[in-house]
Amino acid sequence: MTSSLLTRSDWLLLIASVALLPWLYGSFWGSTGGMGEEVHIMVDGRELPPISLSKDQTLTIQGSIGPSVLEVANHGIRFISSPCQGKQCIHSGWHTHAGEFAACLPNRVALLITGRESRYDTFNY
């Protein structure tokens, strides 16, 4: 037995184990919540046909109190203009993950992003 506490195999195993950890973090923490693929827009309780997030476009949705303008770009969607007072829908920013939900309640426009796996089960404000 050498004077060292660790054998050569021990060192190799230790290095392999330590190297395994960043990979574990990467694979278990990185892929949480798939990216969204489609967005479902609901206006005044009616659901519009789903729109793909991969095609960049600007949509104008006629809500109860006026037009809401939505921008689809970089696999995400955001409100860019809305006739409401609070403008919370605009401040909520970009929505890219499956399961994300955004709404302009005064204008009764809501959108839900869907994808293969959802990041959230439910939302509560």
Binding site: L5, L6, T7, S9, D10, S17, L20, L24, F28, W29
Partner: protein, 168 residues
Amino acid sequence: MDKTLVATVEDHRIALLAALAITIHIAESALPTPLPGIKPGLANIITIATLCLYGLRTAAWVLMLRVLAGSLLLGTFLSPTFALSFSGAVAALLVLSVARLTPGLGFGAVGYSLLAAMAHMAGQFTVAYWLFIPHPALLQLFPVLMTAAVLFGLVSGIIVATMLKHFR
């Protein structure tokens, strides 16, 4: 047919080592844990020392007796805690058997300890996930738990290696 049970030298040895492991196990259960599932697992020291000194068979006895008697003393026998502890022990034993019986691997105490700690964690995590909490959120804990396993496996391995040096 002879009906008397004769305790061999090995039986006494197993009993002594298992008693040591159980004592450590119970003392450790009194320590608060920062996160469910993370604990130093110092009883691993006895298992690995036994493996290095007396071989796989004795180590297997000591490990399984520790899990069984430890759970009886702590009142967790057949509870979910026991299921996790038991599955971790079985996984550790399987990995240790492979590491021990495959010729030419040349692991020392630290290597065995690391393998046992990681197998224990992975084994009980798998059971926890499939049996008790099959929610994807649990998976996020896995890297953290494995980090703890590598850390504590290394520490107890070094303790065993230091201890064995004094024996030889």
